[in-house]
Symmetry: C2
Subunit: 449 residues, 2 copies
Amino acid sequence: MSLTNASPVDAAKAANGASRILATLPASARNDALTAIHAGLAEARDEILAANARDLELARVAAESGQLSQSLVSRLDLGKKGKWEDMLKGILDVRDLEDPVGQITLRTKLDDGLELTRVTCPIGVLLIIFEARPEVIANIASLAVKSGNAAILKGGKESTESFVAISKVISAALEKTQVPNDAIQLVTTRDAIQQLLDQDRYIDLVIPRGSNELVRHIKSNTKIPVLGHADGLCSIFLEQSADPNMAAEILVDSKTSYPAACNSLETLLIQESALESLWPGAAEALIAKGVTIRCDAKAKAAITSKISSDLSSKIEDVQDSDFDTEFLNLTLAVKTVSGLDEAVAHINVHGSGHTDAILTSSSELAEKFMSSVIAAGVYWNASTRFADGMRYGFGTEVGISTNKIHARGPVGLDGLTTYMYKLRGQGHVTATYGEGPGKKPFKHEKLTL
Amino acid sequence: MSLTNASPVDAAKAANGASRILATLPASARNDALTAIHAGLAEARDEILAANARDLELARVAAESGQLSQSLVSRLDLGKKGKWEDMLKGILDVRDLEDPVGQITLRTKLDDGLELTRVTCPIGVLLIIFEARPEVIANIASLAVKSGNAAILKGGKESTESFVAISKVISAALEKTQVPNDAIQLVTTRDAIQQLLDQDRYIDLVIPRGSNELVRHIKSNTKIPVLGHADGLCSIFLEQSADPNMAAEILVDSKTSYPAACNSLETLLIQESALESLWPGAAEALIAKGVTIRCDAKAKAAITSKISSDLSSKIEDVQDSDFDTEFLNLTLAVKTVSGLDEAVAHINVHGSGHTDAILTSSSELAEKFMSSVIAAGVYWNASTRFADGMRYGFGTEVGISTNKIHARGPVGLDGLTTYMYKLRGQGHVTATYGEGPGKKPFKHEKLTL
């Protein structure tokens, strides 16, 4: 890893050159580099946590004067229980995953002696722009090295001391490996983001990790493809046949287990015929966990008499704009719908294509919901919070994509690869094939992988 | 198909609505629509060819006055031998391909009763912008319907009569099927391209089919992902151990079988040690086919005494800019290199990532070349002209992509799909999983597809 004060253009150029070397390294060399990074970080624990403490100190002061949010301070803290250990374990987890590069995904005999293969390969150079969380640097470096991609990392200024400490260690660790030092670059230059976004000649993919505003800004200001999501407006449709206890538990988990996460619930759609049977119990469970419920008239009427009056302050009137709002806190927008069709139509207009669920006992309705909603994840009787690379079994993730192009949903190593076609012949020319005298057809024989 | 004079915004909106219905149709309904389109076109042959003759008449007049190129007139002609039949056959070929939608590509048991699947699905709405060739409308409509995508088609003004005639027939054919009429829209409004490119809310992917200038213009003027290529600058590296006859044949096929195609050869890199042994024979074969060879000093010196003087006008001096030029005609740029590393370095700087080949008897060098060149296709001892969806066995293609993201190389039905994750649970919540008391780990059991 280079810790560079070089210009963003030079960083991008150097990363591009390094990516070509990295792309030709065998899995063993890439895995060895991850072993070395892990060992280096483990050894440098104290100095990295000391650097992190200096970042934290400044951030706490800024938070007290209202310049930074408390949640940002919390995300910054590498000393938080389990965070350091998780970061180190993540590196070895990634190392031990199957090699995503060099996988043959298609093999066709075009003719005798002429064989086509489709082989997975790295994309090239990734640009990762992230805000406070310093452990991201180790996660992303691991995923990039494992998938054979070079990466340029640009972190938020709040975690500069932590980044610099971590990257010095990673840099020293890579020195002893075959992975070129320029393959992972940390750009610390101020105001470098726009210059990096202009390097579409050298950078192949941008992955922003941060606020909706950051992602939207990046999407509007680069020609490089952007992988990720601006909004995570997840909805659940509560159908009349759902089990009442299951419904309450899933709603509570989806809304309250981490309200600031992109996979948390923001809109609840209730079938009108379930307003009396299912909604009061679910509402009570949500309110008991501190959720403020913004209801339309019917949903409000169904619960006002059933919720004790000291909790009535938690019931508000919903505004139209609430259905387009990612609250990221304990507020939930609630709308009454006639049935599945109206629920699907609402989600396809107001949702963000992230993750949406149906709670129902009918497999027929569940399947209909899951094939009609346009989203990266569609769930039946499960919490929207499962939308996560670790939970999906991908080891870790670089982010969750709501793009329809390339990778969708939680993106692990697969999403950091592309493919190329290799054709091996023995002097074959195209003029041989076709219709008419002296021409022959292709064989197009599917070969086993 | 709607033949619309509606505003581009309304066309995009309507296509988006139709795409949601199309996405839920079973394969049988999509295939039936292709059968109906085929039958409709077969029946309307005479009136469509008459409309095409009117386009041709105007185009010939324009060509005579120099306003249109002869090659455009030729591409416009649906009556050319075999073209009509190929167009009709293509519809049935696509219909008979495996359904690209609903394929399960991953199945994981996250826990008892909690199963994750990854399922292929349509992307949504495609915008196809193309120039003269009227048969594209039938190809693209077939691929779109088969893959469950809605498509907006915007053709060049030279083929308006043909487009309108074909789209009327397709529209009438779709009336009798389950595919919504708005799923395939032909926009005939003048100057609609920029308005369509602005509809990133309703359109998911743009596929331009036309000149490099058209593609570059589109890439610079939309936030919608663009699939395709601006340049096809293909190179061949002639290594010293190559078989002389094979080398000459492959070079001739790559350069001369269709010089205007994107997969044709533009740059030849010759190993210095092959200048005396391989180059004179290859040069003679190329010149005999009418190729003008632009050589660097060494490559020129190696052949001037060996080529008869009446052909010497076909040998020119190369300029640096020639190595960045897609000639699209019978001109070839020739450069002498010391060996494989220099060849790879040249290609990775000057090539367009389309298709590049090595001619060699050494499998070791071939494999090194194929893992070092950054391109959608890397070939060993085969003509670059094999880069084509039909030749690859994909039935047909919507274009050839030099993107590294999403689809690369010739793009068939696969490239018109994305995937979604479906999670089926029985009330599962995320709070159950993790470390510590009362928590449990995920099972992450890989299930057979």
